[in-house]
């Protein structure tokens, strides 16, 4: 059965509003997953990190494309390669390269919002 979103989740829209307030307009979020209702309420564009399999390659991927923000669904990813990076243990390692600027929970997901730590160049 495909996922249609929880239409009764009262936390969803407030969380989306909080997340979008932390990301400047015109910024694209790199995310392991996103739904149409996230696009609608956050009013930001999303980008899937294909071909990434480690924290460093994720950072490289983002810097190369001039992306600064990373939105993670804890323990959940549409892109198989990055599933391990976004498990509870995987997220601990992200802290070496990213600063966590938001951590919000809805009835279904826990969202972590990160920004690249320093001005990396490759």
């Amino acid at each position: 059965m495909p996922y249609y979103g929880d239409v009764y989740d009262k936390k969803f829209i407030p969380v989306m509003n909080k997340l979008s307030s932390l990301v400047p307009k015109n910024e694209t979020l790199v995310s392991s997953h996103h739904f149409g209702n996230m696009d609608y309420f956050m009013n930001r564009s999303f980008h899937f990190p294909h071909g990434v399999n480690s924290n460093l390659s994720l950072l490289y991927y983002m810097v190369q494309r001039n992306f600064t923000y990373l939105l993670v669904f804890e323990n959940f990813s549409r892109v198989e390669d990055v599933t391990d990076l976004f498990t509870m243990t995987g997220l601990k390692n992200l802290k070496d390269l990213f600063i966590e600027i938001g951590d919000y929970t809805t009835d279904e997901y826990r969202y972590h919002l990160y920004r690249i730590k320093n001005n990396y160049t490759f």
């Binding site: 059965m1 495909p2 996922y3 249609y4 979103g5 929880d6 239409v7 009764y8 989740d9 009262k10 969803f12 829209i13 739904f35 149409g36 209702n37 996230m38 696009d39 609608y40 309420f41």
Partner: protein
Amino acid sequence: MLNSVKLTKIDILFISFLILFSVYFYMHITMIVNPTIDGADYLLNAHGWLSNEPLYAPFRPPLISWVIAGIWLITNESWIVIQYLLPAFTLAAGVTLYALLRKQKGELFAFGVSALTLVNQIVFFWGMQIQTESLSLFFLILSLFLLKSEKEKHWYLAGVAIGLTFASRYPVFVPALTILIAESVIQRNSKLVKKAIITCVPVIAIVIISVFLKTDAFSGAFERDTQFTFLLSPFYILHSVHTWSLVVILVPIAFLFRRTYSDKNNYTYIAWFLVSLLFWSANTTNFQERFMIHSTPAVYYLSMIAIENFTKINISKVSLSRVRRHFVGKDSRRK
């Protein structure tokens, strides 16, 4: 036109049911705090149609987004307004179904089918959402309502309604086309098809051209959802009780009665139900109970046919008198 319709007790009962149902329906709508994911796609597409921005989900049928965009031209771009206005199509579908069957089968039959359709849990849930289900169900029933009309100009409108089923939800064009073919065969009226096609084709053309001009392509669905096979899936049979409740058990019983086949009108509903079931069962990957929403009126129609047939079973006078003698006779002797 309304002056010529005399309201019967059952009509009043149906109106009362509809009012109570609408209150209950809208009470549930107040509990919805987010649009579905598909619903958000339609909202984003509506924004795309109103602005110069590209469509967010270009493979989605456009009519619902056009309706949303039309409402937003009057109001502000709020999803909540849409959340309350769009489910009205579910109620409109119920009313149209009642009007259609009232003429054809009488008030009680019409009440049974319409009420069962509206209270069906799948119709109820998806009919509340910003989804294409309610919109396409309405146009599908409207198509049949207009095809049943004796006025020839209504057949042109039937063509428009069939075209709008396509615009509201592409696959619902299949049962709409089935209904058109079945009705033309039953009525032995080729004019019906011709007149419907005259208006249906331009509507479909407008939809395709509009989407093409906006997106430089026309795609009706995800590629993975367009794969079909002759090896039919039993999914919808296995989930039939969950989809339509225990009432669905009456459908195969309806097929056992010779009387079911003697009324030509029944063939439209039989074709409608079977073609929808076969079409969705032939898909290779995508099976969802909500796809059966559009065959729900046909399912309940056939269930009511089974009940109607039961009530018309001929019990001979001899056997009736024997029964009476058995029960009444004994009591009177005792007295």
